[in-house]
Amino acid sequence: MHDLPDRGRDGILGYPRTDGRKGIRNLVAVVYTVECAHLVADAIAAPFPDDAHVIGFGGCYPSAYAHRMLERLCTHPNVGAAVLVSLGCEGLDRERLAATVATSGRPVTTLVIQREGGTRATVEAGRAWIEAAVAELANHPRSPMDAGELVVGTICGGSDGTSGITANPVVGRVFDRHVAAGGTAIFEETGELIGCESHMEGRAVTPGLGAQIMARVGKAAAYYTRMGHGSFSPGNAEGGLTTQEEKSLGAYAKSGSGPIHGVVTPAQAPPTPGLYLLDVVPEGDLRWGFPNINDNAEIAELIACGSHVILFTTGRGSVVGSAISPVIKVCANPETYARMPEDMDVNAGRVLSGEATIDEVATELLDLIVATAAGRQTASEALGHREFVLTYKSAEPAGPSCLPTLR
């Protein structure tokens, strides 16, 4: 329970799932299993903008990582049913994916375009199935959900010199309070924490975890150096950030000040509540290009780790949302907020002008997380943002030294 008397108790009615988790949305995932089925999946979902979200994988070659990501997303607590849309000849094992979804107790159907009779027939079949599924999902049982049951992920995008002073410390304060209240929080990413590794090591709950954090940030620094490019965009520099470690320092503020309980990798759910670092950088050689090609690839990974809601801090002004989990936009820069207020949920730039303290904005954001969990649409949801990016990569689950003991 968070620290305001009625927060969490009053409003959240979750959707209980068979694995014990609860969702804050009850969506139909429409999943293309190769790019050739993407347009058909989009057309199937189009009449149901709030109820059906399109995710998928474009590649024709098999990918264990993509398969795992789609499994975790189709069985995410915010998802109540799934439609798999396959061309018919691609490498992704749609039968195994469908079996995993069915085992979770969710309604699932697979439409193979080559069998259904082409584009139009598949679109019609998919829409009819979703119409029935949405009616059925409306009767899904609800149960009260404590704010402490929420898994909250955070990312920064379009960072500038204000991000590390306003929005990121606000999220850090929210994380401190959420974790203290028994919640789970996930921050990212190893490549954007280069320069902060020694400080993070000191916050690790065990020396073994501290050593893992040092090794994983070292891996990220080596990986990005060989790529010839840090996780740093021209807009970051225009916004006043000069170096990778300066950007890292600002990004790191999102993690708050509490103990770090573990490290997870993409599609790995934290085993217990606490504060977790998501390591997005693959092990081994440069086989996969940039670890994540943009913010949405990273948001998808945070969601595949179980995040119910994403706190997205932005200085320059990102507009994106995501499929599956709501994205709350926390704007760091008051000039940006004044230019594009409709895309923002929170104006953390008020900290800079002295109109509000970091604590006050953190309380506003905690309230907004609960309201979002209770069904309120975020700015990006209301504007229809449902971005989703999934590319080739590898990810190995973090081992025992990265994780707290199961209680």
């Binding site: 320069g195 490019h229 840090g230 520099a237 006043g240 000069t242 990778q244 320092l249 820069n333």
Partner: protein
């Protein structure tokens, strides 16, 4: 965090301030008990040298080094990619076209 008009020092010992709004040459900002004349345009969120910084010296923000000065920087000057470089990975911007991966 101490607040001067238009400049923010995030931690004791930092050798840069952060601009809380656009600054222009000729502006004189009162910061930490002395007047700092601004010598070039500085936008919101960008850094200003709080004192003279030597070439090779660490630039410190929020108590943490964010790179090393590539040349001597005068007090009040804008601190950015032209005079500060990462100790880890080169920074790419649209002006540094040869940095494309």
């Amino acid at each position: 965090m101490s607040r001067a008009a238009g400049l923010l020092r995030l931690a004791e010992g930092d050798n840069v301030y952060i601009a809380t709004g656009p600054l222009r040459p000729g502006d004189v900002v009162r910061a930490d008990g002395h007047d700092l004349p601004i010598t070039e345009p500085v936008e919101l969120g960008h850094k200003v040298a709080a004192r003279a910084i030597e070439a090779g010296e660490k630039v410190v923000r929020f108590g943490m080094p964010i790179g090393s000065a590539t040349q001597a920087i005068a007090a009040g000057a804008w601190v950015h990619t032209h005079n500060l470089a990462s100790d880890y990975i080169r920074t790419f911007d649209h002006r540094g076209g040869d940095d494309h991966a």
